[in-house]
């Protein structure tokens, strides 16, 4: 009998406050007495700091202090997790700068304008060094070594797979060099932090910070600043988006909090968009991929040599090529032999972090490109080729060659579903019609199949449910939602189990004083781990309640039920029911808490999957690409709130279109950023987007009681390659086999006019012949970001 709220479209409880302009982003809160911080940043990508004179800046009226590295007593630290043990971040650059934007001084002033005025008075003299900008150049023999301890600028390397000669004996080999370009994460709210070093009474130090992981910030700051965790309270109020860019602590956090403690004054800092675009970045791989197939379209082997860009200071995102891109390199396909090598380079560019998908979009992107190229090589339809090679639905749990155990899946079902909903054959007919009619606006149809990994980084989360005296409930959870609907979906779980109305459920997260521990939100872990923890807590509370009722009514606990009205009592005995308010009294008298606080542990990661079809129009005269529709079938296991899931799919699709067509971080040869504003870094608007058709198959995960997998990043993983494949497909009749992202009008026009976009293949960097084994830093394989 399904009276359950689960699986229904529940509109979000948190919306009215946001809609009324009452959101609590860090900069919206009052921070009484707080002075404003502003960073002076290197304007050179690589240099020794010959001199740094802050005297004039200090004298400007309204300036309280100007701090440089030597003013702090802080050891270089690891912002999130280590990629290379020799590469850590100093609180402020000291002696050497390694990328344009590297913070070298911090102004503290009475207001923001004054702080900016003061920054213009700071005098810096640089002795420039050769900037090493390109990741492949960095790994070459002749490149300047950026860090004394990192030879050949090789920050990390990995060798994986199960074969030394995966292409051996193959009838057909296709190969391609693919760029997965560096992007800016660009959440609408940039980084923001405020600190009060001296709370009332026993408050200790309070930090408000826009982050995805408040407990991580607490742990990191306490260790970096040598203060006891217990004296540091971290609060994350509303956050205006994270997308992986707000994982871990950043230099600016440490500089601001450190200064606040040193000077004993409250401080606040909010990043400007220009700063954000040049410092919060992700992706950045060059992929040399070869696939062996049989003449009739079976995949026989895969050989991948992958270069990752860590940027300066061993940015952890650089390690994703050795981590999740590696572990997902088999994807949805049956591939008997795989060899995978990755080299991570240090460059004089901003440290790379995570961006939605964090390594998995990069894996799917290269797989979907090489698979399309293979299909084209033997003139097979791209859907047919995929169908022929997908891991069958009876193979689960499936042990992939690269290590992960896929928990559940039905790849063919998703592919069939998207072929149907997109009316694939009709699209092919229209494509042919336009080609035959010689129309100048042609149609492209792109397919992608993907599997990705969620909750891979240590699978445990805290959840608590407390009944309150008014008969409501309070949820506490260690995840840290920032727009994904957690207040609503988690409340739905509690409402469903305890039959307490949604309006009486209070959702509490992201305050280290209220929630003792937590992994935050990243890697699409929250519902499966946090939701399961909250769900488990609710079930435990129900258990306590039933036992109390059984005692109270002198009945057997097996006869106790919860009514739809939210009362607990004896089945079949209308007069023997208690409201939650009554139960609170009963519990109090019995000396029992109507609450449960605990941790949910999941045995492993879960593997959402899906299939996308992108339909684009390409203007052959100008190269302009317009997506005209996008179909996404994404399977995240059991769907709890279809409205919220759909929203995540939409957002993921849009970021995929963004990567495929619009976004890239550009540098000149000296490492100067060339697009550090939203006028030049092209985040698409509604006018650039088509409508989306998003749907789901539901293949539950056996790994948690909710049957849930993550959804937050999946659609990004699936959408990017579909769009890229669509553009190449649009031009396939002209002989085009590949175009790199972003597929700008000019790139597309070049492909059209030349019948190709340059050679599909070039020899990988020579460093690969020297990489025999995995080395250095922990390859960040299983991290939730």
């Amino acid at each position: 009998m399904n009276g359950s709220i689960l699986g229904t479209r529940v509109i979000r409880l948190e919306d009215p406050e946001l809609l009324k302009g009452r959101a609590t982003y860090v900069d919206n809160l009052e921070h009484p007495g707080a002075l404003y911080c502003y960073f002076v940043r290197s304007t050179v990508a690589a240099a020794k700091i010959a001199s740094l004179d802050v005297a004039r800046a200090k004298e400007l009226p309204g300036v309280r202090a100007v701090l440089v590295a030597s003013d702090y007593d802080i050891e270089p630290f690891v912002p999130f997790f280590p990629l290379n043990e020799h590469l850590k971040r100093p609180v402020l650059a000291s002696g050497v700068v390694k990328f344009v934007g590297d913070p070298i001084a911090m102004i503290i002033a009475a207001d923001r304008s004054t702080a900016v005025d003061a920054s213009e008075l700071v005098e810096v003299e640089y002795e420039p060094l050769d900037a090493v900008v390109d990741m492949e150049d960095a790994l070459s023999i002749n490149a300047r070594q950026i860090d004394p301890e990192v030879a050949r600028n090789l920050v990390a390397s990995v060798v994986g797979g199960n074969s030394d000669n995966p292409l051996n004996g193959a009838e057909v080999v296709v190969r391609g060099r693919f760029e997965n370009q560096r992007m800016s994460v660009a959440p609408m709210e940039p980084n923001s932090i405020a600190v009060n070093p001296d709370g009332d009474g026993d408050e200790g130090i309070t930090v408000w910070v826009s982050t995805q992981m408040p407990h991580v910030i607490q742990t990191k700051l306490s260790s970096i600043l040598s203060i006891p965790k217990g004296s540091l309270r971290v609060i994350t109020p509303n956050v205006g988006g994270g997308f992986g860019g707000k994982a871990g602590v950043i230099q600016e956090h440490v500089a601001v909090v450190g200064a606040s403690l040193m000077l004993g004054i409250p401080l606040r800092w909010m990043e400007e968009r220009g700063e954000n675009l040049i410092s919060m970045q992700g992706r950045g791989q060059v992929q040399y991929v070869e696939m062996a197939i049989s003449r009739d379209g079976l995949i026989l082997g895969l050989d991948a040599r992958m270069v990752g860009d860590a940027g300066a200071y061993g940015g952890f995102g650089g390690g994703l090529v050795a981590g999740s891109t590696r572990s997902m390199a088999q994807g949805v396909y049956s591939i008997p032999k795989i060899r995978y090598k990755a080299a991570v380079a240090s460059t004089n560019t901003p440290p790379i972090g995570a961006l939605r998908g964090a390594g998995r979009p990069e894996a799917t992107a290269f797989l979907e490109r090489i698979v399309d190229m293979a299909a084209a090589e033997i003139s097979m339809d791209p859907i047919e080729f995929r169908r022929k090679n997908l891991i069958s639905s009876t193979s689960f749990p499936y042990q992939s060659v690269m290590g992960p155990l896929y928990d559940s899946g039905n790849f063919v079902k998703a592919l069939d579903a998207v072929a149907e909903v997109s009316k694939y054959q009709d699209l092919r007919r229209e494509q042919l019609r336009r080609r035959q009619a010689g129309e100048t606006v042609v149609l492209g149809i792109g397919v992608s199949c993907y599997v990705e990994v969620t909750a891979g980084g240590g699978a445990s989360e805290y959840g608590a449910v407390d009944i309150t005296p008014d008969g409501g409930a309070e949820i506490r959870v260690g995840t840290s939602g920032h727009g994904q609907g957690h207040p609503t979906t988690f409340s739905m779980l509690v409402a469903d189990t305890l039959k307490i109305p949604l309006e009486k459920i209070k959702f509490i997260q992201s305050d280290t004083k209220e929630v003792p521990r937590g992994g935050g939100t990243g890697g699409s872990r929250s519902l499966q781990l946090g939701g399961s923890a909250v769900n488990a807590a609710a079930l435990q509370v129900l258990d306590v309640a039933k036992n109390l009722a059984a005692s109270h009514f002198e009945a057997s606990v097996d006869d106790i039920i919860v009514s739809q009205e939210g009362t607990i009592g004896v089945a079949g005995s209308p007069s023997h029911f208690l409201s939650w308010t009554d139960l609170m009294d009963v519990a109090k008298q019995a000396g029992v808490e109507l609450a449960y606080r605990g941790d949910f542990n999941q045995a492993g990661a879960t593997f959402p999957f899906g299939a996308h079809v992108s339909v684009v129009e390409v203007d052959l005269e100008t190269g302009l690409v317009r997506p005209i529709s996008h179909f996404a079938v994404d399977d995240c296991g059991r769907v709890l709130n279809p409205l919220v899931v759909e929203g995540q799919q939409h957002g993921g699709i849009a970021q995929g279109i963004g990567q495929a067509l619009y976004e890239k971080v550009y540098f000149d040869a000296y490492g100067n950023p060339l697009n550090s504003s939203f006028a030049e870094y092209l985040v698409p608007s509604a006018a650039e987007m088509p409508n989306f058709v998003a749907s789901n198959t539901e293949t539950p995960s056996p790994l948690n009681p909710l049957g849930a997998k993550g959804i937050g990043e999946s659609a990004t993983v699936g959408s990017t390659p579909a769009v890229q494949n669509a553009v190449v497909d649009a031009l396939s009749h002209l002989g085009v086999r590949h175009i790199d992202m972003p597929m700008t009008p000019e790139r597309v026009w070049q492909a059209i006019s030349q019948g190709s976009n340059g050679p599909l293949w070039s020899e990988p960097p020579s460093i690969f012949s020297e990489i025999k084994k995995s080395d250095s830093g922990s390859a960040p394989e299983e991290v939730d970001i």
């Binding site: 900016v116 067509l661 550009y666 650039e688 000019e746």
Partner: protein, 272 residues
């Protein structure tokens, strides 16, 4: 994001504005602010004084004067967009105004501000060039008229002299066809290349973002005016022109776009 400090004064008449400018070295006029303020926020411009003429309502008008339409310099893009007078007499100007920036920008930006700023990548300067409009400027030495073909001199440089204010733009009515082609990747962006074409007796074609200022496609015009086919004329779009290169387009690609867009513009202008 935070401009440098400056003094601010509001002028309630053109005469007052002229007199203030005459006495100040480093003063800039402020109308809608949507060309100037973005530069000041990035500290690419730091005038010591702003003279706000935004409230001189007498400079906001669109008047049918027989042979031409007179547009006050402070007329906002939004007002151009919805003007019935322009709709019947110079529809291209309404259309181009409707493509500038986004709706919120169009509520503040003015045609005078845009034309006086003279950015070669802006839409309206190229439009008034193709329309063969005449700019009316008032200054300490009186009033003068400057034809569009003599108005745009170089990178953000117009024929306006120190202390002169653009007060009106006289736009000849269109009796033939017209077209405006704006090529960009996002709707809110500047044109990567744009083309304004007017067939008003003779053919005039101007180009957006093919140089440091709006340019006439003279070779194309000559070809059209001597009877060449549209294809042949369009192929000459970039002749004698050295287009800029940036993140959005190389010089070669701009040349290619120019010929494609000129062809489209001429075809559309010839069909109406």
């Amino acid at each position: 994001m935070f401009p440098s400090s400056f003094d601010y004064v509001r002028a309630s008449s053109v005469a007052e504005a002229i007199s203030i400018l005459a006495n100040e070295e480093d003063a800039k006029l402020l109308a809608g602010g949507h060309s100037l303020l973005p530069l000041m926020k990035l500290r690419l411009a730091s005038p010591s004084k702003l003279v706000d003429i935004g409230r001189i309502s007498e400079l906001s008008y669109i008047e049918d004067r027989g042979e031409y339409v007179a547009v006050g310099a402070l007329t906002r893009h939004r007002d151009l967009e919805v003007s019935a007078v322009l709709g019947s007499s110079v529809p291209m100007l309404s259309h181009v105004a409707s493509l500038v920036g986004d709706p919120s920008v169009r509520h503040r930006g003015t045609i005078g501000g845009s034309v006086a700023h003279g950015d070669g990548a802006s839409d309206l300067p190229a439009a008034v060039l193709a329309l063969d409009a005449t700019m009316v400027a008032q200054g300490p030495n009186g009033t003068r008229e400057i034809p569009a073909s003599e108005f745009f001199l170089g990178f953000l440089e117009t024929a306006l002299e120190e202390g002169e204010i653009l007060t009106e733009i006289k736009v000849p009515k269109i009796h033939g066809g017209w077209s405006y082609q704006k090529f960009n990747r996002r709707a809110q962006d500047w044109a990567i290349v744009g083309v304004a074409a007017v067939r008003n007796g003779s053919t005039k074609v101007s180009l957006v973002n093919m140089g440091s200022m709006p340019l006439r496609a003279l070779a194309t015009e000559a070809a059209m005016n001597s009877g060449a086919s549209i294809s042949d004329a369009a192929a000459l779009a970039a002749e004698g022109i050295d287009p800029p290169a940036d993140l959005n387009a190389s010089a070669d690609y701009r040349r290619h776009l120019a010929s494609v867009l000129v062809k489209r513009a001429l075809e559309e202008a010839s069909s109406s």
